[in-house]
């Protein structure tokens, strides 16, 4: 919704918006349309010959067992990352909100990890859980768990989720803390009088007030688990073992990019595009609604 009072001008607004339009035109729409176009083509890797094949690439994709399992993994992995990182961050935020002195220190210590690149987080974990020098590996093995992310899907998934959650806690923490602090003092005081059990107070008063933040964060976290974890997967598991820890984005890269099958990978890009579109619609509706109340 635009402002009620606006400038009415002929060319000025176009000058202001031109850089943005130019950049997204050249570097977004052009490549994106090319991806759409390629998804209907069967092309040799070098671009020397190509045939129009209608929806064959999509058909290949949807009949492949691998693609189904990758989709399922992506959903399961995203779910685990979202629930765990939101849950842990919420607990930490509630506790930090109760701290009067030193809250800033906690906030600082709990947020800086935000700045660590996913690829850097991935290689850090690689070293920590390395069979030869990793102290965390030694710790796990000493419990009798024969930890082997190279060969065990379960172990690799656990490792991947752990690192993804680690990387995502700070963002969620910041939002929850801000959300908690925006609850008016009067509400909190009233709650304290009405409701003696802190647990009940949390669930009946605080949590409903945090729900919009939580819902919003959920969308952010799903986006994170889908896309931003690319560098993490590439440095940590590369989809191994047996391609069972590939997310959909990682598979686009692996199939199309490393396998040099552009048509198939473009089709995957388009499928992802549609998925994200759905996701963003939800987010957008929600964000707009929040603005208006």
């Amino acid at each position: 919704m635009a402002k009620k009072v606006q400038f009415a001008h002929t060319w000025v607004p176009y000058v202001f918006i031109a850089p943005q339009l130019l950049i997204i035109g050249v570097f977004f729409f052009w490549p994106a349309l090319q991806a759409l176009y390629l998804s209907f083509m069967l092309e040799d890797p070098w671009g020397l010959s190509s045939t129009f094949v209608w929806f064959e690439n999509y058909q290949t994709l949807f009949t492949s067992a691998d693609y189904l399992s990758t989709t399922l993994f992506t959903l399961g992995y995203s779910f685990a990352v979202v629930v765990l990182s939101l849950g842990i961050a919420l607990i930490l935020a509630v506790k930090a909100n109760a701290v009067l002195h030193g809250q800033k220190t906690y906030r600082l210590l709990l947020t800086w990890v935000y700045a660590v690149a996913p690829a850097v987080a991935g290689i850090t974990a690689y070293f920590l859980f390395n069979r030869h020098i990793g102290v965390f590996y030694d710790a796990i093995v000493s419990t009798g768990w024969l930890f082997a992310p190279e060969t065990s899907t379960f172990d690799a998934t656990v490792l991947l989720i752990l690192v993804s959650v680690w990387k995502q806690i700070p963002v969620n923490f910041v939002f929850f803390l801000a959300g908690l602090q925006s609850i008016p003092v009067t509400v909190r005081e009233a709650a304290q009088m009405d409701c003696e059990s802190p647990t009940r107070r949390f669930w009946t008063i605080t949590f409903p007030l945090l729900a919009p933040t939580a819902f919003f964060l959920m969308v952010i976290n799903i986006t994170y688990a889908f896309f931003d974890t690319f560098g993490l997967i590439d440095t940590l598991t590369q989809g191994r073992p047996a391609g069972s820890t590939s997310t959909m984005v990682y598979k686009v890269y692996q199939d199309g990019f490393l396998g040099a099958d552009l048509g198939l990978s473009s089709a995957q890009s388009v499928v992802l595009m549609i998925l994200v579109m759905a996701l963003v619609m939800v987010q957008f509706r929600f964000v707009e609604r929040r603005i208006h109340y």
Binding site: L42, E43, D44, P45, W46, G47, L48, S49, S50, T51, T60, R131, H132, A148, E150, T151, S152, T153, R240, P241, A242, G243, S244, Q254, D255, F257, L258, G259, A260, D261
Partner: protein, 430 residues
């Protein structure tokens, strides 16, 4: 100090411009120590003459290098020379117009090119259906068995020549506290070279050499029996499976956890640095019951391809560099530093005359294995979208070792997906 460096850089740029040397770029996948050797050779070439300057650029793994080359070619920014690995050979050789045959590059620039100068094992692997060499088999290796001498002595056994023997050796090693074997490249060692060693066909159209193949032949009894045995070995504690990464399996050998390791003859140089025990090298074991006259294996590694779309002067530079690379001295240096086999007969002779193998008999195992008598199916293979098929093989091996699939099912999946890849590829190049 920073200023000085700048000044020096400016000076060297100036001096280069003064000579107006033809500059060419070489994208490769040789990291670490291998990369340093590549750099040393490029520097020596640049210093040896004033007309040409080559710049090697490390582009990551074999897959990443090929992809980078493909993207660059599509964008008209291809490097002059690109290193493409065995599995990608079909991708570049079958695409008419992507590469210029090394044979043509050399003869056009006035060099004498004779394919028979190259040792028999590498001669035709990167050649087209008419026997014309398209890619220069730069870093050629072959799978060999490395064994920890101390471990084998402790168990009182000799390295096995056949898989039948291996089963006895493995128990003794287990009793001595070792896992007998690990292996670093399932598709290459247990699939492709398994077929070469046992002289078994692995794809139609003469393994893809006489046309575009449409059928992978991996679902056969010999391979099924082998994989069944491997799985049993793993369950018995004879075989250590550390996932699909090359390094994880090699490391287990280096750390003395595993007594024998199947790797590349090109790993020799690295192993010498990273192990603190005495190790020996021998041929890739075979099943006597399958084929008694086990012969030559395929080469692995990669070849250098000249990309289309550059000027004649630049191709001259490429030819000059290839000429330098195939000099016996250069090849001998490369062979000594890395363990990759010398690719020309002259270089092999030089290494022999120099007494290199008298001091390092192990370094000769790879080239000797490649020189074993070949048979109908040992020349090579050429399959489209084979990078993806290898991916399927890796994945099925992961599943098989984890007990998530059976040998029968795994082989069926590999054939099904492999065939689909072949058919898809055949349509893209027609």
């Amino acid at each position: 100090m920073f200023k000085k460096t700048l000044a020096a850089a400016a000076l060297s740029t100036l001096s280069l411009q003064g000579f107006a040397a033809t500059e060419i770029e070489w994208w490769h996948a040789m990291g670490g120590a291998l990369g340093e050797t590549v750099n040393a050779m490029a520097e020596e070439f640049n210093a040896s003459q004033n007309d040409y300057q080559i710049t090697p650029v490390f582009k990551g793994s074999y897959e990443e290098t090929m992809t980078a080359g493909i993207s660059a070619f599509r964008a008209g920014e291809a490097p002059h020379i690109i290193q493409i690995f065995d599995a990608g050979a079909a991708t570049i050789i079958n695409a008419r117009g992507a590469a210029v045959a090394v044979q043509d590059v050399m003869s056009d620039a006035g060099y004498n090119f004779d394919i028979n100068d190259y040792i028999s094992g590498v001669r035709y692997f990167y050649a087209d259906e008419n026997g014309k060499m398209v890619g220069m088999p730069f870093n050629s290796s072959t799978p060999v068995l490395y064994y920890n001498k101390e471990a084998l002595a402790a168990a009182g056994v000799q390295p096995p020549a056949t898989w039948e023997e291996f089963e006895d050796v493995a128990q003794a090693l287990k009793d001595a506290g070792y896992i007998a074997l690990s292996q670093s490249h399932t598709p290459w060692i247990f699939f492709e070279n398994f077929h070469s060693r046992h002289n078994l066909q692995l794809a139609d159209a003469d393994n893809g050499f006489s046309g575009l193949p449409e059928k992978v032949m991996y679902d056969n009894d010999a391979l099924a029996a082998h994989l069944t045995a491997v799985k049993e070995w793993k369950d018995n504690g004879y075989y250590g499976y550390y996932g699909r990464a090359w390094g994880d399996n090699q490391a287990a050998f280096e750390q003395g956890e595993v007594a024998m390791w199947l790797g590349s003859s090109g790993s020799f140089g690295g192993l010498k640095q990273s192990t603190d025990f005495d190790f020996g090298t021998t041929y890739l074991p075979y099943w006597e019951s399958v084929y008694e006259d086990a012969g030559s294996t395929f080469i692995g590694g990669a070849a250098l391809f000249t990309m289309a779309g550059h000027s004649d002067e630049e191709y001259e530079a490429v030819a000059a560099f290839f000429d330098y690379l195939t000099l016996p001295e250069t090849q001998y240096f490369w062979h000594r530093e890395t363990g990759y086999v010398p690719i020309t007969n002259a270089a092999y002779e030089l290494a022999k005359d120099d007494g290199y193998y008298d001091l390092n008999p192990d370094a000769e195992v790879g080239i000797k294995q490649l020189s074993l008598p070949g048979a109908e199916w040992t020349k090579g293979y050429r399959m489209g979208f084979y990078v993806q098929t290898r991916e399927v093989i890796y994945n099925e091996m992961d599943r098989l070792m984890a007990g998530d699939t059976t040998v029968k099912k795994a082989l069926r999946t590999i054939e099904k997906e492999g065939n689909a890849n072949l058919k898809r590829f055949a349509r893209t190049v027609q």
